[in-house]
């Protein structure tokens, strides 16, 4: 019997959307499962961690890991899969950059716990109970994973071979990535398996982008009736496409929603938010300091906007307290 290459798919701090994206391969997933032996996929198949522990080091050809790392269980699974795998693919925005949950790095662990277990209006917690790593109940010790001080991208915890960003990654890039592994046609280690240019490069609305973008009054998408064909920036709506890696298929743009940056910054950019500021500044068509302040102050939560998917992998990573 010919042994098929072993593949593991794991979710760490994840919403499940990345696993859904794998399922969205539709019938192509049958070709994948014919070609490989999926030995771990918690969202779909009933394998346990002990099954991974039983595998020899390096026996798994590819581990596809989605989600960020925020607790000790996620770190443990990531390290276990790294040990057992030849290749690790960081799959989706959370694994690649920390993702939307990474915005929690603008809050401390203490702030989060106080809100979730004490201050939120829907919480009833008269005894002031907080989750503990160890609790003894009727003589028996119960344990929970430790909740870390911050969210980590996958490469801050283990060595990552390849990156496939997106929230979630699109089926064509998933199929390309898996095929590249199976056929051994991989780019250099550390590569992102997506185009290098910015989304504007392939955006159908690009032809309507003026040479000089001049925004006097920044609008949010729900505040206008956006034209379905015109560049969002020309309509005064901030679109991250100018600094975001191409490859998503412009699915948000197609549904008349501006790019939010889930593919992360373009090749070679370390900090999506800091790098976007000069672009944003140059688009503000203001003639005086007061106009500048008015335009800039009209953006609610600028930092959240700039680092919607990439705060943990940004240069400063988290709030100083």
């Amino acid at each position: 019997m010919v042994t098929k290459p072993k593949v593991a798919i794991a979710w760490l701090g994840s919403c499940g959307g990345c696993d859904e994206a794998v399922v969205d391969l539709n019938e192509a997933i049958l070709d994948v499962t014919n070609a490989v032996d999926v030995i771990f996929w918690p969202v779909a198949l009933d394998f346990k961690y002990k099954h991974i522990e039983a595998v020899n080091d390096g026996d798994i050809v590819l581990s596809i890991i989605n989600g960020h790392v925020r607790n000790s269980e996620q770190e443990e699974v990531a390290k276990l899969l790294r040990q057992k795998s030849k290749l690790v693919l960081a799959f989706g925005a959370c694994a690649c950059f920390g993702g939307t949950p990474g915005m929690a790095n603008f809050r401390t662990k203490e702030d989060i716990f106080n809100w979730v277990y004490r201050d939120s209006p829907t919480v009833v917690n008269p005894k002031g109970n907080y989750p503990q790593v160890k609790t003894v109940v009727e003589g028996k010790e119960l344990t929970l994973p430790e909740f870390y001080e911050q969210v980590f991208a996958l490469n801050q915890v283990i060595d990552v071979d390849y990156y496939l960003p997106g929230c979630p990654p699109p089926p064509n890039l998933i199929a390309n990535a898996v095929t590249a592994v199976l056929e051994g046609k991989l780019p250099p280690k550390g590569s992102t398996l997506a185009p290098h240019k910015a989304l504007c490069d392939s955006c159908k609305r690009n032809k309507t982008k003026p040479n000089k973008i001049a925004i006097k009054d920044i609008k949010r998408i729900h505040e206008i009736e956006a034209s379905p064909d015109t560049c969002f920036l020309a309509q005064g709506v901030l679109c991250m496409g100018i600094g975001t890696r191409d490859g998503c298929g412009a699915v948000c743009i197609e549904t008349n929603i501006p790019c939010r940056g889930c593919f992360g910054p373009v090749e070679g950019v370390a900090d999506a938010g800091a790098k976007f500021i000069p672009a944003l500044a140059s688009m503000l068509d203001v003639q005086s300091d007061s106009e500048m302040k008015e335009a800039a102050d009209s953006i609610d939560d600028l930092a959240g906007y700039l680092y919607r998917f990439s705060l943990p992998s940004s240069m400063l990573q988290k709030k100083r307290t």
């Binding site: 950019v269 900090d271 500044a281 140059s282 503000l284 600028l302």
Partner: protein
Amino acid sequence: MSNFEPKLVCFSCRFGWGFLGNEAELSSQIKNWIPIICSGKLDTAHIVDAFKHGADGVLVLGCPEGECHYQDGNYEAKKRIYLLHKVLASYGIEPDRVRIEMSLDPEGKSIPKLVKTMSDTIKQLGPVKKA
């Protein structure tokens, strides 16, 4: 924190600051002085990078408004810094730690003084908080 000596980085536009002065002599007086061609060349990522590498403050010296060699590079820098202040506040870094001065000093003699003034402001704030 009486012994605290702030680590300051000073970026200055070569067109407006110190181009008639003795650069070697000025360099000996100003720690971490980085003359650049136009303050508009300064990417906010460079400022963030300075904080990543342990800076306590960043001073940017640009040309007076309306006198940029490249039309409006200095005003672009001003806009960037205003936006950056908001982002730094979210990181827990006080906006006072980044300042832009839009003026002119071909001899550059006022640069050490400006650095000293900014340094004194930052002494009051103390070191950047730990991540």
